[in-house]
């Protein structure tokens, strides 16, 4: 019998090796990567936890899969619980979507093998008990992601370096917290241990989530690396951190009952929103616009969590579910434009490129709308719900978030105004490497845009999932 957690850990690792060997055949490696991620996502959602199943009739009984079986690894337990299923499904399906887009945008990048490796590690981080080991696995994933973030033939990625740095700095806080909590279990009179634990956890997660002033890695990852890999870090990696945070809150309920819980999250989120909203329109490169847009979105999710209610948690989870649509579209737009501007995404280099790369421009527009939370896009549905929930209780927060979204979209408009400058002559301007995006790339981009718009028009595809996921967490009252 194959234990589910082992399957979720081992299979991506094995396939990572296979994909790495086959990397020179981009379509094959993409297919394998997408297939692996999709298969695991489907398995984690559909296979029952309480009984083993034989997924294929031709497999023998010894090849049954028991998803809910606990596995011991280095003396630590790996267990797939109900709350983890949808989290893992989010990771796998998002990764599958990004692999599919990378097939056209970054076909020979290390995203496929490293992405599968990261999926394995991040799955382990969500499955392992006790939680401190999750921090170590997240740190290892951050180190591995540097390889994927580094574009071939380019100067060293500042984004990868910063991401690794901030993740490393977050590690001690989480590890020491575990010791403090074990000590508290022995000495329950020492309330100071709880305060210290809460403080250390807050600082660690602030580093991991890019809360201001530890936010500089977010725009660096978005701007200074392979765009889709940056999106992978900001969605799958960041998503795993979010679920880890929720696991901490669920495991230690006293954290959510802390008197400063709501104000801390709200304040942190607000500061992120303000900083991102002010800096996004000020940029002269597209990459940082995307990064600050992601910062605003993260800040909004923190504000939602700071509402200290089941509704707020649902909204935060909904933001996680819709975030990949916007960031992925912006990433493929950025990739396509960079490919035609000599890897330079400054506004000067992008002048007039919109006419040569219309699909990349369209992807950038729709991605920017989604990240900014404007209609018609996936990002709009969660902002609509969030503003509706925030406006009666905290109109200032709603206004700041609203304006920050406007700031992000101003950054996109500025880029668009440069992209749509009509070239003076057919021979004028830069020396683009390619003037055609190909029908296959156009088709992939069109499907991605349609998916984003579809979710924006029919949020009932994703919103009930967020609500169901929120119900699995009990640390907040409804």
């Amino acid at each position: 019998m194959i234990a589910g957690p082992l399957l979720l850990l081992i299979l991506p690792l094995v396939m990572a090796g296979v994909v790495y060997i086959l990397l020179r055949w981009a379509s094959l490696s993409a297919l394998l990567a997408v297939g692996t991620a999709l298969a695991l996502g489907i398995a984690v959602v559909t296979l029952p936890l309480d009984q083993p199943v034989q997924p294929f009739l031709f497999w023998g009984e010894e090849r049954q899969i028991a998803m809910g079986e606990t596995v011991t690894f280095l003396g630590r337990e790996l267990v797939l619980e109900q709350a983890d299923r949808m989290a893992m499904a989010y990771l796998f399906f998002t990764a599958a979507g990004l692999f599919c887009l990378a097939w056209r945008s970054a076909p020979h990048s290390l995203l496929f093998p490293m992405g599968l490796g990261l999926l394995s590690l991040l799955s382990g981080a969500l499955l392992i008990r006790p939680l401190i080991y999750a921090a170590l696995l997240v740190e290892i994933a951050a180190a591995l992601s540097v390889f994927a973030l580094q574009a071939e033939g380019q100067p060293p990625t500042l984004g990868g370096l910063r991401y690794l740095t901030f993740t490393t700095l977050a590690l001690p806080g989480v590890l020491v917290t575990n010791w403090l909590l074990e000590r508290y279990a022995l000495m329950p009179d020492e309330i100071g241990l709880l305060s210290m634990s809460a403080t250390l956890l807050a600082i660690s997660f602030a580093l991991l989530l890019g809360v201001v002033p530890f936010h500089t890695w977010v725009p660096a990852v978005a701007s200074d690396s392979v765009p889709l890999v940056g999106t992978f870090v900001l969605t799958v990696g960041n998503g795993a951190v979010w679920f880890l945070l929720l696991d901490f809150l669920e495991t230690y309920p006293w954290l959510s009952t802390h008197p400063h819980f709501g104000s801390l999250f709200s304040t942190a989120g607000l500061v992120m929103v303000v900083v991102g909203g002010l800096l996004a329109p000020a940029q002269r490169r597209l990459g940082p616009v995307m990064g600050y847009g992601a910062l605003v979105d993260s800040g909004g999710a923190l504000i939602a969590l700071g509402m200290h209610s089941r509704l707020g948690l649902t909204l935060a989870l909904l933001s996680l579910l819709v975030r990949p649509f916007g960031l992925a579209l912006m990433a493929i737009g950025l990739s396509g434009l960079r490919a035609r501007s000599g890897d330079d995404d400054s506004f000067d280099a992008l002048r007039g490129l919109g006419w040569k790369a219309p699909w990349s421009t369209a992807a950038l527009i729709f991605g920017g709308l989604s990240v900014a939370g404007l209609p018609v896009s996936a990002g709009f549905v969660w902002r609509w719900a969030l503003y509706r929930a925030l406006a009666p209780a905290s109109p200032d927060s709603a206004l700041l978030l609203f304006l920050a979204g406007l700031g992000v979209v101003v950054g996109v408009w500025r880029a668009l105004s440069v992209l749509l400058v009509r070239p003076r002559s057919p021979e004028g301007g830069g020396n683009p490497q390619s003037t055609s995006e190909g029908w296959l790339t156009a088709a992939v981009v069109a499907v991605a845009i349609m998916a984003c718009v579809w979710v924006g028009l029919f949020p009932q595809i994703l919103a009930p999932l967020a609500a169901r996921l929120a119900e699995t967490y009990t640390f907040l009252v409804p």
């Binding site: 390889f147 033939g153 100067p155 060293p156 500042l158 370096l161 690794l164 740095t165 590890l175």
Partner: protein, 221 residues
């Protein structure tokens, strides 16, 4: 043939204030120096002193394994930098890279600033060790932890070059490791922390190679 325990017993007199002093000097040199040969040598020594201090907290065998990981990291750095210097020399010979710097024995402004900053951080670490002693570890090891963490952070903050940042991260992690083994002596955690350190080294080596490759292709970092 002397056993590991015998070897460690011979140098055990160093596993106190001399090791802390050694850590201060090695970490300080890492902050100031930009010469890769000196940095690798100093890092080897730093790991030696860290291992000495670890022997007071955990079993010598585990400390030795941690030291081994550290020295493998130094090997990775050495091989990477050696390859990088060969590539840079080849670029210089083709005339595409900037000319090599002449060695100077006069301390530069940057080095002076780093030295001063290092001294400030060291003083701050000393004050922190006095005011905020770490649980479960003796006073001199507390000082060593603060020195490594502070100087490691300084090293990360002062540079964006991959190798310097990598050295800084490893220094920081060494300081944390020195403290954490006293709290959590689990072998699994020790192994994972070792894996983290090794991967950080590999990642920074990868970025260093990318830096050299991009530089030799005429692109500015």
């Amino acid at each position: 043939m002397p056993t590991l325990a015998d070897l460690l017993a011979r140098v055990s007199f160093l596993a106190a204030v001399p090791a802390v002093a050694g850590i201060l000097i090695t970490a300080g040199l890492l902050v100031v120096s930009r010469d890769w040969r000196l940095n690798v040598t100093v890092l080897i020594l730093q790991y030696f002193f860290v291992v000495l201090l670890l022997t007071r907290l955990i079993r010598p065998e585990v400390a030795a394994v941690k030291g081994l990981i550290g020295w493998m990291i130094c090997m990775v750095f050495y091989l990477t930098e050696r390859r990088a210097s060969v590539l840079e020399q080849a670029s210089a010979a083709e005339g595409t890279a900037p000319s090599r710097r002449r060695r100077r024995w006069i301390i530069s402004a940057r080095a002076s600033f780093c030295l001063l900053a290092g001294i400030s951080v060291s003083v701050a670490a000393y004050m922190a060790a006095l005011r905020i002693p770490l649980p479960e570890v003796p006073g001199d090891i507390t000082l060593a932890c603060y020195l490594l963490a502070g100087l490691g952070l300084l090293l990360i903050g002062l540079s964006e070059a991959p190798m310097q940042v990598g050295l800084g991260l490893l220094t920081f992690l060494s300081g944390f490791d020195l403290f954490y083994v006293a709290l959590e002596p689990s072998l699994a955690v020790a192994g994972l922390l070792g894996a983290v350190s090794f991967l950080i080294a590999l990642a920074t080596a990868h970025l260093r190679v990318a830096q050299v490759t991009a530089g030799s292709e005429g692109k500015t970092p």
